[in-house]
Symmetry: C2
Subunit: 310 residues, 2 copies
């Protein structure tokens, strides 16, 4: 390719990542992590969640963080589990919210204590309000390949859910392998069908590295035409309903692979590793990324350099 095609990385570390760490960070620490990501050129970041601070202490103070975010060509989103969360996000000044609809009934019940029908009704209502509020909404289909309680999810279930969400006005649907269970063959199978039906531009993917297949799944989705991915700095994350699961696919692994494949992620790996080191120090957790050691050696050798702006 002569002009590099763009791929968007949405770092969900400050939300999906930190929410599943043993150690709870202070809002100012979470803001520092967001700033480190911005400094690396990450422009899409899930900054937090508007959820009860009693239910999820790790996301306490998200509104304070939002109030301190810089303005500019940035795409910040926050998770909302219910209408109250939606209103709080709106009041805080968010332009984008994300909501999670699991493809399986059991996961919806465990995750937000709603049935499939209730979740869909909630999502449809939020999508309607979003339009009148000029709020952007990312509709995330969780357990799109496999549910920890119900097992494999039928592709038709996910296709039907996408149809419903797009019909309700969703600008974008995120297909999430919440517990990191999919193989690249399963990713190719589902994503090729969804891309054929809905087009690649309205779809993005979210993978976890539980079985070591995270990057292979990203590659399989890229081959299907997907050009937007969730990832978490340092491979942070997990799933409360998949004990011991590894985290999200690591942003640095994804960026290294996509940059090397000739795509333009706009992200500087040397700066990104600073963000990974920061969150490792903040949480006391080692990074889960497979590429860290190699990237650090390139930084030492001067092959990968910090952005001048940093």
């Amino acid at each position: 390719m002569t002009i590099a095609e763009k791929i968007i990385i949405n770092d969900v570390g400050p939300r999906d990542g930190l929410q599943n760490q043993a150690k709870t960070l202070e809002p100012q620490q979470r803001l520092a992590l967001i700033q480190a990501l911005l400094n690396a050129g990450v422009k899409h970041i899930e900054v937090g969640s508007f959820v009860s601070p009693i239910a999820v202490p790790a996301m306490r103070g998200t509104a304070d963080i939002v109030a301190q975010l810089p303005t500019g060509d940035f795409h910040f989103s926050a998770l909302i589990p219910n209408f109250k969360g939606y209103e709080l996000a709106k009041v805080a000044g968010m332009n984008t919210v994300s909501l999670v609809i699991a493809a399986s009934n059991s996961m919806n019940k465990k995750n937000i204590n709603m049935s499939n029908a209730e979740v869909l009704s909630f999502a449809t209502e939020v999508l309607g309000r979003s339009r009148s509020d000029s709020m952007n909404t990312l509709a995330c289909i969780a357990t799109a390949w496999e549910c920890p309680f119900e097992g494999l999810v039928a592709e038709q279930t996910v296709i039907d859910l996408c149809t419903t969400l797009f019909a309700a006005g969703a600008p974008e649907v995120v297909l999430a392998d919440t517990i990191g269970a999919a193989s690249p063959a399963q990713v190719k199978s589902l994503m090729s069908k969804l891309v054929a039906q809905f087009g690649a531009k309205r779809l993005s993917c979210h993978f976890h590295d539980t079985r070591g297949m995270g990057l292979a799944n990203v590659y399989a989705a890229v081959e299907c035409g997907i050009r937007k991915f969730d990832a978490a700095i340092g491979g942070l994350g997990g799933c409360p309903f998949a004990p011991g699961a590894s985290g999200n696919v690591a942003t640095e692994d994804v960026v290294l692979m996509l940059n090397q494949m000739g795509y333009d992620t706009g992200i500087n790996l040397a700066n990104l590793i600073q963000a990974a080191d920061l969150v490792a120090a903040q949480t006391g957790s080692l990074t889960n990324a497979g590429s860290t050691k190699w990237i650090k050696r390139q930084i030492e050798k001067g092959v990968f350099k910090l952005n001048a702006s940093s």
Copy 2:
């Protein structure tokens, strides 16, 4: 697929893996590892190297190991760096030898102190002798994507090398990303050309996980039609000329992914993890496999069970 298509896994842990570990194992320990792999259903194993025990102490006593290998439907190979090694392998009773031809001159010089022309002359001569000796020969093209000294390798160089090796009678050529530098886009680009020209049946691939892309590369090659892969139990390995490089792509990672993709590897994951635990105990090194934690949880839960024969 109704009848699962077979994919062959050739475990190079007892050679490429152990040769690059800090700790040298005794021949009986290496034999125990080979037996653990056989017990898991691995039928293709690189059991050692017929090389000077002074130059490579880790491979001392390979003939003793070969003398104790079981007979049956097994495909044992041993690396030979020169004619002396070839003769020793023949005397020891090996049916298959592997030889390494780097795609770059500098790597050949560093690896076996021969120029490209000398290595090709050696390979051609071995392939000729192999035919009269009924010896099977695996011709491995090292640094097929990138050389640590010369950088990116031109695809045409590798295509020409394959042409020469097949013309000289090579039954099979192994494309090796010796330092773990290739991205899946580069794997797809080269392997699709090689498969178009030579057919997938005579080609196999060998990946390292240095940049975390090992499994993505395996998947890319599978998509090109490749049905035989090198891998090393526990992700053992490295490269003396790529300091700090992670090891070979881990057998357990590859098997988990391919089994889940519906291919028949013939390998039992519960037994395979026993082999990984054994070599971790033997070498004092932790496993590098990304899937180990998840596989172990499935074993605890009884999802993956040991073979009755074990």
